[in-house]
Symmetry: C2
Subunit: 255 residues, 2 copies
């Protein structure tokens, strides 16, 4: 995925973020060292630039505020997610719920790239209400990106926007449930497997299950994921058993 | 529902909120008059208390900050929701998804009590980023209240916390989709029917349908809602029919 399709208006900042020059990383490292030593509130931008050995202007070139240095990769990840959903082809769009689940995995990947940093930030965010609020606004933007994609996909459906909003919220909640469980375990365990499991729950509630894969798997999925094409039968409890069986047979025959 | 079971720590403020003395209402009215005339950012707390004819201390007795006067009833509503979920009996707890949908309707009721005010606030919130952030934090607290209830109900389930978080998020998203649609229509239309429809989508994805009602309906639901107690069976498509039938029989027998 390229950052070249970053959302308009980010301009130079987006390029700087994508290139990740050493100065930007040095600022993040200095900031976190001080946050952990002194606490977030007790650390000023001046403290950070002094430790990093750069000027104030350099800080604000990369980060609009002190809060932004705590979440240095979300803008890039949001741009990646938007690009990922914008470049969906016909095959991917055929299963929109699966597609937004894959988009959510981009966030997990960002966290899993650097477990130590992610765990430190998780603890910091829990302690500082301002950071919690910042995080909520970031989560909201991810959710909107997923919902906007689904709204486009469901534009012909009755209740399309409702379904899009609900599914996007469910995907984000499932992803974050698994992500936070992994962060609480200090980044031990298999984050990817936990997120897959959580997103599987959402897919089972809202989406078609993945279609059978050719042996060896496809490029965007592991080879050993079982093909779990399912039949869902909903029947009134009072219905006689033969009626339920008839319904199943009809459903199977329809394919 | 009584506000006497407000969450601990709210103390006097909770009572003041529940009693809704004229001074509190006067402050809200003055604040909104100024927000609409001058804009939110251009209005100070001093402006508000001057117009309301009270002292600064009175303002802060009711509202911790200027943002809080924009959302004067959320604390009461959150307390009502918590109390509503805490006092669930065996009958209500039998259908936890339905219960959280009913809890979400308390929020709708608060908005629908005063459509003009709700629509004005909706427009204001869209314009002021700080208020948008405040609203996100309020929405998050509602979602957590629903999720905590579901986590308790699902404590024996495998994936109980995952399911609780996902369903709570879906309920909030559905509620807000309908609420915002109603607010965008300037409070025209039947907000309650829109929310019922939206929550019905979540119930169809996650919850059992409502149980049969006695003729004439129950106090908390309409009489003409059909009794649709259902059995849901999910089966791998490859499974033999006898295996599916066995699963249905087991499910029915378990009740």
């Amino acid at each position: 995925m390229s950052s070249s399709s970053a959302t308009p208006g980010r301009g130079e900042k987006a390029e700087a973020a994508a290139a990740k020059p050493p100065m930007r990383e040095a600022l993040v490292a200095a900031a976190f060292q001080l946050f952990l030593e002194r606490g977030y509130e007790q650390t000023t931008v001046d403290d950070i630039v002094t430790l990093a050995g750069v000027g104030r202007r350099s800080f604000f070139r990369y980060f609009p505020s002190k809060e932004d240095v705590v979440f240095p990769d979300h803008e890039r990840c949001l741009a990646d997610m938007t690009a990922f959903l914008a470049t969906s082809g016909e095959e991917q769009d055929h299963e929109p719920v699966r597609r937004v689940c894959d988009a959510a995995r981009l966030v997990l990947r960002m966290y899993a790239e650097n477990p130590t940093f992610s765990v430190q930030r998780y603890r910091l965010t829990k302690q500082v209400p301002g950071l919690r609020a910042y995080e909520l606004s970031v989560v909201w933007r991810y959710e909107r990106a997923l919902a906007e994609y689904l709204r486009r996909r469901f534009s012909g459906r009755r209740d399309g926007t409702l379904q899009a909003d609900v599914i996007a919220a469910a995907v984000v909640a499932a992803h974050n449930n698994a992500l936070r469980s992994w962060l609480r375990s200090d980044g031990q365990g298999d984050a990817s497997a936990e997120v897959d499991h959580a997103l599987g729950y959402v897919q089972s509630a809202f989406g078609a299950a993945p279609p059978p894969r050719p042996a060896g798997g496809s490029p965007d999925g592991p080879a050993d994921e079982p093909a779990e094409d399912v039949v869902v039968v909903v029947s009134r409890r009072g219905a006689p058993l033969w009626r339920v069986v008839q319904e199943i047979e009809t459903t199977l025959a329809r394919d």
